[in-house]
Symmetry: D4
Subunit: 149 residues, 8 copies
């Protein structure tokens, strides 16, 4: 059994690397959005032409990014969504809702301070973790049945 | 043609009433989550028994609220999601993602300050409005073909 | 908003009547399997002809009952499954799994003694209640936003 | 043609090994839940943190196990569900219902004493067997057209 | 509960009338194909223009009839397919396969002589009856729980 | 049986009125896009604010119109698409493809000169007509079984 | 592009071998039902135990065969259904209907004498052929764009 | 992540080759319709027999081509539809609508002169490009996160 895992959300810490490194020996394939913030913001106009209006500048980029995001979520078995301490991160919550509606197994990753604000998102999840290492433990258990020592 | 509209998101202003009043003469049926904040937070424990742990207190409430929310979104033709100026409003973005994955027609309602942070959410929408009156204008046009004077 | 509720499971107590009576003033439509035990067991052979073999006797009845059960679950918004104190009640658990796979909102109703044995079933539910009156409270809250006094 | 088979249900006898050994020469891939009873019960708290309340202890584990179970059933061509002589085994019946709603080919495996109690479950199956060797015979026939000598 | 029933198959006896008359007091709505043989054969060319080639004459008619047939089956809860003693009746078996793939509850109606030739069709059904009156009995039981006296 | 019919395509002749008048005595409900060309072009900017760039002017309008069009096609049993003699009419062909992918019964209406250019579109249809009166004849036959005299 | 082709229907001539041999150089994978008539009839009782009643003897076999048939059709891109000169062949028409409802590309293969009786089945097909060599030509064209010389 | 891309539309310029050459180093698999105009027009009659009537000549070909087209679109992650300067190209717009209804990521490729006529088609797209090289840039960005220098 290969597990396809999509890593959505916060892009300012190395949580994706921690999970990918921790799960390196497991039969998991990972996918994620483009996490280069500048490229992600500008991809639309860089490829398809400049826009005077900032709204359409953003819009063109968000649409191009959606090609990758939709495929990543649609093909995943498990979608992990990480909420960090800063910013609105509405795209993370949007991805969680999108994945939930597709029936994906959701793991939500966030610190205890966000628990109340994320209660509807957590309620759609099969696991709510605080640390990337816990996500690795879940993936290992799901694939091998082994619990952490 | 009757249009079924679900009004999701911000609960601290009267935007829902503005839309419902403005569209009173149109063939629209509206649905929305429970907007009584206290009831929404406590419904789980009030009905199913108290919890010592705040996390499970919140969880039981979020699950009960999901019975209404999922039905409301699933049966809607149009899902309007309003983002206000305060709070994280992750449940609003979650609902937008959920509705998008089900192929619903999305209208996102927010002020210009949030445009960049909401660009992925807006990119899934068929209309992005700033004022409740614009939502009414859209509903009128969709149902009757009449534009605002 | 009319809520369609299917009442599955235990047939030896009056829990269905308690819920239907308690929810009489709410905009709910109820459906349930045939709860006359003898008719339910014999419907296949009574209509389609006797069988020498008890297995096929049972099979013909179970198939005819499935016409009603499948429609009832497929059209429901909420599926309530009650587990009583006696018998294997595998059909109740089967209905819960069937409803879960269709994305229905599940409410599981059982006493505390069954909690461990039902943990996988409860994990698929949006609410786990012990008393029929709690189910009524949930239906009232979902439809009206009112909590019990 | 490779056949993907999910083996659900009873975990106290070696029926899974009998089927996997018997089908070793066939083009079949097998999947199953975690069958280590203690690990399966404790996985939630072992990874995500202890719970004072036994209900939530069980719940967290059941949710984590669901990540594996849902994928296993969703990807299977054939779901075999074994009912043993002991315990309530409601998770087995739940899996059968879940698989039936997804349109999976169901094989139910149980002794003759359970036939009446399982009649609704059997009615959703394409085969009802009493011995693991019969399941092997079915898999061989489906893949090769060969009947047992 | 209203039951929507589609009556497919043999058009040379009055079995549809027998069922509709027998079920007149039940909450059932019936639909069926156009049963006027000549109109059914010629509808394509009569409306859309003559064809020299008999194959396209037939084809145009079959396509127009499919508008009605597909809607009738798609909206039905129960599809009854009657096989008579004469003709190939491949359209009846086609409708049965079509309905089965859509997950409809199938009732197959035929005399005992056809049992072997129809075994794959019967295997997809929830009931196999020999007489129209048995279909009425099933509809009555499904709707009211009452068995024939 | 009520037939829901969506009338897509050419907006410069009175073909919709001909069909609606001709079918006035039949149990048909009709829906169509906004056919006021100017309103349809300008609805986006008239409601949601002007755009300097003609592309985004058009885009905003096309998105708002899609709210009506998608609902109209999704709820239809039959989608009639009319191709006139002028213009590219790519939205008509787009609607035909959209409807075909949803499994709708398609009727294509065009003059003989367009037959070759529309062969892929016609190949997805259940009927290809030249005159609105033929569409009325089809609707009457589908609903009543009566052929034109 | 690999094309998955399921070969359904008549089992008394070598049409499957003709197609598989003719398409040996193409990127096609073939699947089909068990075509050993005796094994196909008896598989149920040979594996799962004898039945006194011929109806249930047939039924058990038809159910076991359905495990293979459903998977074969569900995974196919193209379903070829051959109707021969003899027998009722209702299972062939059932498979055609089943495949049509799943949106499979259907090729129907039969002699000209059956054209009228098969007009509803042919109307659901993308190609109607008389000879196995024509099916090979279609597969070659679909995969390579080459027409027969 | 391998990206499956279907290239639909205009067949008189080398835009497909430009994209395939430009993306040669990327993990992309391409599919497209048969682009040999004569073969595409005549495939039906060349394989399945001549037709006197040009309409049926065209129809048989369009149906055979649909076997390839439907599979190509159904399996694609991204559907690129190119509109050239000539002809009606209704099949291109049909493919775009078909792909949109299946939820595919659409890239529309056309010159600025067609922007108004294609506004409904563009509104369903995630990107609207003018040059094949831009499509290559999108594919590279989606797969690698790299923007053009």
């Amino acid at each position: 059994m290969t597990l396809k895992v999509y890593l959505s959300g916060e892009i300012h810490t190395d949580w994706r690397e921690q999970i990918m490194t921790g799960a390196a020996s497991l039969d998991v394939s990972f996918d994620s959005p483009v996490t280069d913030h500048a490229a992600s913001d500008d991809c639309g106009v860089a490829i398809l032409g400049a826009e005077d209006n900032k709204y359409w500048h953003d819009h063109k980029g968000a649409m191009v990014n959606a090609i990758r995001t939709r495929k990543g979520i649609a093909e995943a078995d498990v979608v992990v969504v990480r909420f960090g301490d800063q910013y609105k991160q509405w795209n993370a919550a949007f991805d969680a809702g999108y994945a939930a509606a597709l029936g994906k197994s959701l793991i939500i990753l966030h610190g205890p301070d966000h628990a109340h604000a994320l209660k509807e998102v957590d309620a759609a999840a099969l696991a709510v973790a605080q640390e990337p290492a816990q996500v690795v433990d879940i993936l290992r258990y799901v694939l091998t049945g082994s619990l952490p020592q």
